[in-house]
Amino acid sequence: MIPLSVRFEPRERLSRWINIWVPAAAVLLALVVAGFVLLASGNNPITTYRQIVEAAFTQPGAFTQTLVSTTPLLFTGLAAAIAFRMRVWNIGAEGQLYAGSIAAAGVGLYLQHLPAPVVVIAMMASGAIAGSLWAAIPGALRAYFNTNEILTSLFLNYIADFLMYYLIFDSTSFWRDLTSASARVFPQGKYLPASGNWPALTLSSVVVPLGLVIAVVLAGLLWGTIRGTRYGFEMRVMGDAPRAAKHAGMNIRRKIVSIMLLSGAVAGLGGASQVGDFRHVLDPRGLEQAQFGYTGIVVAALARYNPISAIVAALGIGVLTNAGLALQGPNFPIGLTGTMEGILLFCVLGSEIFARYHIRIHRTVPVAALHTEATPGSDAPGAELAAVGGREQAS
């Protein structure tokens, strides 16, 4: 067996193009691997990909549906991206979204007799605030007690989920519809009246929900903030080198709480959009099945935590999700959607190392036995150059 050592070594030069061709290669690889999976499941990959495009864009009403899928993913994707960028691991977008839905539904019901614009704005505000507060808990725990925010935000997702279920299925709460006969048998929430319906733009047969418009604007604002404000500058420094941030005099604790509040607000706004744009009711089952929060993290990772890229990434996953729903059938069970999403993301994740490192394969010279009578000066330069071992060897 030829003794080989395969190692990752830092690249000498980092060209601008690396950030383009590495992810592109990853996506290509994903398409190929997913293609094999499709083959194995009895589908023709090329036709399937074509069908996905059709189901997402070209068929009547398709693009509108795609936008419906994209909207919540953009919210949660942005929420995750801004936090993760600063190495604050907010896994709680799911729960923050639920909190936003609860708040927006409650406010929408409570204020239903007021004029529509007021109701809509109130729903947005309450959704954002609720999401913020839900995120403030893990944020404060991390900033002041150094408690791992991954776990606290994760568990709060569950608690928010149970809260939603309680409100609709297990109590006679304000959110619950107690009037109609069917509602008494099959628990469901009260539907919001028209004042709580968020307006939408219709552009040549494509319906653009208000939530999406807000999310895109938000993406732009966030991008601008990160690039052009003091706040964003501090975010970038803290995310890159916390010690340098300290050296520069930044207040890390306050920033952590602040970013969690912002992240939670965005996710909560997504929850409000779910109520206002699409469901018009607090729908625990639907929200839980959709898993927008967790998928948002996937979106953020694909977008490499850049808000503008998140628009594209959210659209991409929205396309897959929508196509998965549309194509669902004996040939294309719902399980293929997650499988292909997973393949895509694993490929992208696995490719990131190649942006900074490349592979070096060396032939290793077997370690000489100890106490060999090596005469001084007999270390032939040739043998030394080919061998790798000892930590200082320059390459």
């Binding site: 080198a241 050296h247 005099g249 370690v367 100890l370 106490h371 090596a374 200082e392």
Partner: protein, 507 residues
């Protein structure tokens, strides 16, 4: 009964004509060194003399370009510390490799066990260790967890690890740097016991009083070469100091260096601080620096320089005393120091001084970004960066290049440029030219001199005595956290500074 033809026994460990180079720098230049079994041998020299490099060669971490290592008279080729361990050579570094949450016994046995079975019986191991500890006068409880132990006790665990694995040769790197006087006595007892049992003990030091008290022989290195080996009994601190630093001083220092009468821009009064491990690092330090002067702080690394710089920058709290920058009393906050006019070029360039993933333009405003309101004017920053790149002659593709792509020298120039451009009154620089090539070193030193002539008070913390002599107006020497003396450049001579650095107090 000596046979007429018998030779003296071969040394337990020897380096024969070892040469080691790094990127053009010769760290060890045909170094010869031997240690005999049963002796305690000190390796003495100032910073950069090549002591650590030599020991890394002796323990298999580095392989020499020329020369070879002998164990008990036979040449060996070692490719890793593992090989060295097989040969019985063990080194205790300044930074311990211990797992904090495990016990002493568990750490000693980690990775290697005498029994070589799957089972690990804590009680048995603890007994074995207790017996060894007894034999070598090491006072440590085998069941204690590492995080419960003092630094001195942790060091003993490291020694135990070596003994447990059958060390014949023990090398210790600046072992007393972190010990209290009582712990030093215990360490000495242990080393003596090991020597008495036939092991060879080497310890690296720059502290003359200790070297005189503990060792049987001393080898002095300077600038990568062996200067000589003497029996401790027949030498003196003066002779050793001379061997350590003595050279013909050619440079006369800065033209026009004289006592400056500018205002005091930095003042430390009775400042004390502790290190990360809780030991005293800075002890009752009093200093002032005036506008326009360069105060050099000399001393071997590890005597509190890092902590002193951090204290001034507000990154480390003081346990006593006050720091005043630009007339403003400081309260241990980095941004306060920056706002009061402090510029600081830290030892760790990448990752502390600079954010590696951010561009040059961004890094240039790392400290001044607060001054222009909430909006960051990116275009202006890029233009300013171009200007800086040009005037400081930094080699980079452009202002948007990421900091991590810069070479050491250019990175340093960037940091210095940044600190200077922000209108600092005091500039603290730590080891500014370490690892830089000749050209970069030249440029950086020129920058420091220019800034002083423009009225900045410069504190130059450096392990390079030549550099201090070339640039400083006054020289303070740090030893074990205290200022052992402050001398004007024109009154300073190398031997005297060397003595101060090695522990003699100002005469």
């Amino acid at each position: 009964m000596t046979d007429a033809t018998s030779e003296p026994p071969s040394p337990a460990l020897a380096a024969r004509s070892v040469t080691k180079r790094f990127r053009g720098v010769v760290a060890n230049d045909r170094v010869d060194f031997e240690v005999a079994a049963g002796e305690v041998h000190a390796l003495l020299g100032e910073n950069g003399a090549g002591k650590t490099t030599l020991c890394n060669v002796l323990t298999g971490l580095y392989r020499p370009e020329e020369g070879y290592v002998e164990v008990a008279g036979r040449p060996v080729r070692m490719h890793s510390p593992h090989d060295a361990h097989e040969a019985g050579i063990f080194m205790v570094h300044q930074q311990f490799r211990l797992v904090q949450s495990l016990s002493v016994a568990e750490n000693v046995v980690l990775g290697w066990s005498r029994r070589r079975g799957t089972w690990f019986a804590p009680r048995k191991v603890e007994h074995e260790i207790a017996a060894l500890a007894e034999q070598y006068r090491i006072d440590v409880a085998p069941r204690a967890k590492i995080w419960q132990l003092s630094v001195g006790e942790q060091q003993r665990v490291e020694i135990l690890k070596a003994i447990y694995r059958g060390a014949r040769i023990l090398i210790m790197d600046e072992p007393t740097a972190v010990l209290t006087p009582q712990e030093v006595d215990q360490l000495v007892a242990t080393l003596r016991a090991m020597a008495a049992a036939g092991a060879a003990v080497v310890f690296i030091s720059h502290k003359l009083p200790e070297v005189m008290a503990v060792s049987d022989r001393v080898t002095v290195l300077r600038a990568g070469r062996t200067i000589g080996t003497v029996d401790t009994a027949t030498t003196s601190t003066g002779a050793l100091a001379h061997m350590m630093v003595g050279r013909d001083v050619v440079f006369e220092g800065r033209a026009g260096s004289h006592r400056v009468d500018g205002e005091v821009v930095l003042q430390l009064e009775d400042v004390s601080a502790t290190s990360d491990m809780g030991t005293p690092a800075v002890v009752d330090v009093g200093l002032d620096v005036r506008a326009g002067e360069i105060l050099g702080i000399a001393g071997v690394a590890g005597n509190g320089q890092r902590e002193l710089a951090e204290v001034i920058a507000g990154e480390r709290p003081v346990t006593d005393g006050t720091v005043t920058i630009g007339g403003k009393r400081q309260h241990g906050k980095p941004w306060e120091a920056i706002d009061s006019g402090l510029g600081y070029v830290p030892e760790d360039r990448m990752g502390v001084g600079v954010a590696p993933g951010l561009s040059i333009a961004d890094n240039l405003r790392l400290k001044s970004y607060r001054r222009n309101g909430r909006i960051m004017h990116n275009k202006k920053a890029v233009a300013d960066a171009e200007e800086v790149i040009r005037s400081f002659d930094i080699v980079a593709r452009g202002p948007r290049t990421l900091a991590r792509e810069l070479s050491g020298g250019n990175l340093q120039k960037l940091i210095v440029a940044r600190e200077l451009s922000s209108g600092a009154k005091v500039l603290v620089v730590s080891s500014p030219t370490r690892g830089l090539d000749v050209g970069a070193t030249e440029s950086v030193r020129k920058l420091l001199v220019e800034s002083a002539s423009r009225g900045v008070g410069v504190v130059l913390i450096s392990e390079d005595l030549d550099e201090i002599f070339e640039l400083a107006d006054r020289i303070a020497v740090l030893y074990r956290g205290r200022v052992t003396g402050i001398v004007d450049r024109q009154d300073a001579d190398v031997d005297r500074i060397g003595l101060l650095m090695a522990g003699e107090s100002a005469a």
